[in-house]
């Protein structure tokens, strides 16, 4: 009779494993973290965008995945693997990949973001647009029918 009660109890305790413990501990350590902020080229934050961090030795499988906050921010602490870490942020098919170089001493160098219109001033944008428009106008003028000129 006793064994029919005790045996299941022992089995249950063994299966319960760590959950049988009542105490819990949290270890805190200070890490060197990397923070990014993802924005569209309109300046709007990419809120709730999906983030995938790729370690230098495995560019196929993400080392970490997560989501940006309402301001488009995401913070992670890479381990000490040196090399080029890639951080991809995407939302509804839009997104970008930035790279972070971590040296052999474990120190991260500057984050290399891809060139987008977000880093351009309005003057630069206007000049670039004007140059393209002028190129198109020049092309149109070059290929315009020359009948009128011949008649003149």
């Amino acid at each position: 009779m006793l064994s029919t009660i005790v045996k299941p109890l022992i089995v249950a305790l063994l299966l319960a494993g760590p959950a049988a413990a009542h105490g819990a501990f949290v270890d805190v350590e200070k890490l060197d973290a990397v923070g990014i902020q993802a924005r569209y080229d309109t300046g709007a934050a990419m809120a709730g965008a999906q983030v995938a961090v790729f370690a230098p030795d495995n560019p196929a499988q993400p080392w970490l995945t997560g989501m940006t906050d309402a301001d488009g921010r995401f913070v992670f602490a890479p381990d000490d693997r040196p090399g080029r870490w890639a951080v991809q942020v995407r939302q509804a098919g839009h997104g970008a990949i930035g790279y972070l170089e971590i040296g052999a001493d474990g120190v991260a160098s500057a984050f290399i973001a891809p060139a987008t219109a977000a880093g351009l001033t309005w003057t630069q944008r206007a000049l670039m647009i004007a140059s393209v428009l002028w190129g198109c106008i020049g092309t149109a003028l070059y290929f315009r029918p020359t009948r009128r000129i011949r008649q003149a």
Partner: protein, 211 residues
């Protein structure tokens, strides 16, 4: 609504290039078969400029913003010239402003080129409609339908190329929200095409009916 670099798997980007190359070859053949292929180049060049600049005009559609696409107008105005013009415009946007990407140029060319050819077919097929209201409705459908088709292709490509590590549910919801945000744009582009073609019908009818 340009797919940037690094979003799609390699196979899809290569496939996009292959389809875009095929589309371009067909269009160039059709252009070469015309009596004077150079005749359409000035118009194609000016429309490329409009296409290039249009993508930089953002229209706020809360909570996000969309930009003009003009595939329908390109197809209605340029016909077979539309696909090469769109590819050139996309390449310039990718190189100068980082809109889209060079690896995804083929995919983006297909996403915007096919609706342009659809608009061309609709404009040519219903070119005999002369009643002003009916013609305006056809033009509206051309512009709006091209945006709807482009958004549909965009969503299909993205959904087909979702990587395994991504939260598929969240990405599907984001794509759906983006597609819905393009509904007002479809109406706006329908109105643009109706206004432009309506104006040309009154002032310069031979400019319509791209060949």
């Amino acid at each position: 609504m340009h797919v940037p670099d690094g979003i799609l798997p390699l196979g899809m980007t290569l496939g996009g290039w292959a389809v875009a190359a095929g589309l371009t070859a067909v269009c160039l053949n059709r252009i070469a078969a015309q009596p004077d292929p150079r005749e359409g180049l000035p118009r194609a060049s000016m429309m490329t400029a409009a296409f290039f600049a249009a993508s930089l005009i953002h229209i706020p559609v809360p909570p996000s913003s969309v930009h003009l696409i003009l595939s329908g107008l390109m197809g209605a105005m340029l016909g077979w010239y539309a696909v090469p013009a769109i590819l050139i415009g996309l390449a310039l946007q990718a190189v100068m402003f980082g809109h889209g990407g060079l690896t995804t140029l083929g995919v983006n060319g297909v996403i915007l080129g096919l609706p342009a050819l659809g608009a061309f077919a609709l404009t040519r097929g219903l070119g005999h409609v002369t009643h002003p209201v009916a013609a305006a409705l056809v033009s509206f459908a051309t512009g709006a339908g091209a945006v709807a088709l482009a958004v549909t292709l965009f969503a299909m490509v993205l959904l087909a190329g979702l990587p395994a590590h991504l939260d598929a549910g969240a990405e599907r919801a984001a794509i759906m929200a983006l597609a819905l945000a393009h509904l007002p744009l479809a109406c706006a582009e329908g109105l643009i095409v109706a206004a432009v073609l309506g104006f040309l019908r009154r002032t310069n009818p031979e400019m319509i009916g791209a060949r």
